[in-house]
Amino acid sequence: MFRVELLANSSSHATPGYTYVADRGFDPAKAAMAPALGRKRGIHNAGKGGDISSRRANAIIRHLAELDRENQRDVQIPVPARPAKEAGARVSRTKTTSNVRRILVSQKTFRNHLDDEEAAIAAGGGGLSIPVGAAAVAPVIPSRVKVVAAAAASRRSSTPASTAAARKKRPSAVAATTATPAPSQPETTDAEVEDDTAEPKHKLIKTEHDNDPLLRSYAPTMPSERIMDRLLAEPALSYNASRAGPPISTQLPRAFCCMCGYWGKIRCKSCHLRTCGLDCYKVHEDSRCGAFF
């Protein structure tokens, strides 16, 4: 009666019972939900690859949500009722339209609106939302700029230094000594005032090392009017796309004592919170450590 048919899968592994799916990385929206299963696996993988455990990630998200609260407790503060006389006097002006009524009775929070927005974007930019993200705006940027932007996205190259450095192959060891042309800098700022966009060549930053072709520094030219117009005409990014990315530096985050705020030097063996020394650890163990495993 029933027939089991093996459907074609994108992965070629003949593995029964499960399939490989792409790991999209850390998703705050999902992590906020309490992970019911596989909790310990996450815990045991903690700290191995420099990545944080799911338990820690959850704790951080909960903590941040806690810090984002307006009041400690959930309170309902009703809008105070106005005296009838005043309310009556205002009627003459206000003929509330259906839009206004709808907006006023809406009790949606920002979170609700944001979820709606995300759903709309996921569904293909439906409704009010405008196409978002770099992909949507990329075509309008001329290719030269795009290349630079792509290169800049890689590391701390976002500054002209490294783009300039890439262009002129300046040995990095000399860079620190040669190129601090504070006096020549007004030129580059002047450049935008004069709006010398017609000039195709990059402007030379004057230093005493200009005789050496390897040490010449060029300031990148201002983009042309056309590029600026296109940049300004781009639509706004979505709320989530405009959030600042993770820090550029690769050093590990600092850890602090959970009791006194000094450096967290030792870690509690059962709950993984850090303390600065035995004094604070004792207090933590006696009263605060709430781990059961």
């Binding site: 105070p80 839009n99 920002f110 800049a152 190129a179 201002m222 705020g261």
Partner: protein, 466 residues
Amino acid sequence: MVTKSRTSTKAAKNSPDVPARHIPNKTFVIDNGAYTMKAGYACDPSSSPEEALSNCISIPNAIVKTRDNRIWTGTQIASHVTDWNEAVFRRPVEKGYIVNWEAEREIWDQTFFEEKATARNKQLRIAHPEETTLVLTEAPNNLPVLQRNTDEMVMEEWGFGGYVRCLGPTLNAWNEVQSLFGDPLNKTDSDIMPKDCLLVVDSGYSHTTVTPVYKGQPIQRAIRRLDVGGKLLTNYLKEIVSMRQYNMVDETYIMNEVKEAVCFVSNDFKSDMERTWKANRKREEAQSVVVDYVLPDPNAHKTGFMRPHDPLLHAKKKKGALSGLSAEVLSEDVLVLGNERFTVPELLFTPSDIGMQQAGIPDMILQSLSVLPPGLHAAFLANVLVVGGNSCIPGFMERLENDLRGIASSECVVRVRRAEDPFRFTWLGGSRLASNREELGKLAITRQEYQEYGSGWAGRRFAGMI
């Protein structure tokens, strides 16, 4: 009114070809922040910034419920609330965006649309919205739904004659910032024009944003936001203090005052940390960092204040009257603040201290520039303007300039400046924009246009798509 007649003749001169489009000359500017609204009438273009700012009034944008279950709104808060213990807040602005219009309408109605004109509300009362142009700010990257709600409320509930909704940070470019950066005034003519390149860092109550502004317009792709603002800092301080000393979890307002009084941004985090270590506390050098904060006592009508740390105070208090302390000192509650003073604002620069996966402000500035053509980098780095309440934390500006100098290219000049009045600078920019009738006309929509084309059109218009 001198202002009105002058500007109206000017407007008539400027737009003879479009007689049908009328934008009212009276302009009211609201910088609708999450913590306070900055509002007032824009004034004459010839007046000085000080004169203009005298028109600008800060109103708490909140409904407060005090311990004795009384509810106060907007302007009432400053005059009526004396006991801030356990006060709870309802704020219509969430994350910098107006979300709850039920509460916001109440606050606006009470502040701007009171029935009777009194001496008190003279500066804020909008008697005839249909003859007034409203300039309303919003935080960058607002949700389209919320923008639409705002437009509908402004035009349908109150019916303003003219209306501009724009990003708050962009208004700063209209201010006279040349003197702030020590640049010569390049234009001597009377026309008020925006600065060419300005990178606005706005660190407020809900978040900190970086907005590159080019000739008064935002470059949308480069706007970045760090979800750390004054609220998070206050809550973090509250949490730490509650864990280490007294339970202050319900005392948001008081902890905000503590934060404003004691917090500073450290320019040498490690050494400050060593100085406040408890084993070093008794030494001389620690004394400069560790302070006592005496909590307010509403029953005795005393406000809170900061004073140098007295390491023996606790022991003396135990002895009670024998120690010779006055009853006043014995009854007061003291918070001892050591590393709390600088680890809290440190979150603006190192959000990873609480595990946040976001870059601090200097990094964020570079992230913002990284999506722009390299030719613009130098111009923006040389013109970084900081507005918003967090910039008033001592040490903030030095730290930002130092850190930015350290990571920016050595060929670029880095100039970081704070606005003279970081709270009302955005409002002042709006006021200056209003005096340039031509530019205002380009941005504004009129009531007739709204009634003809609707809120969808208004949203596209303000997004710059039409």
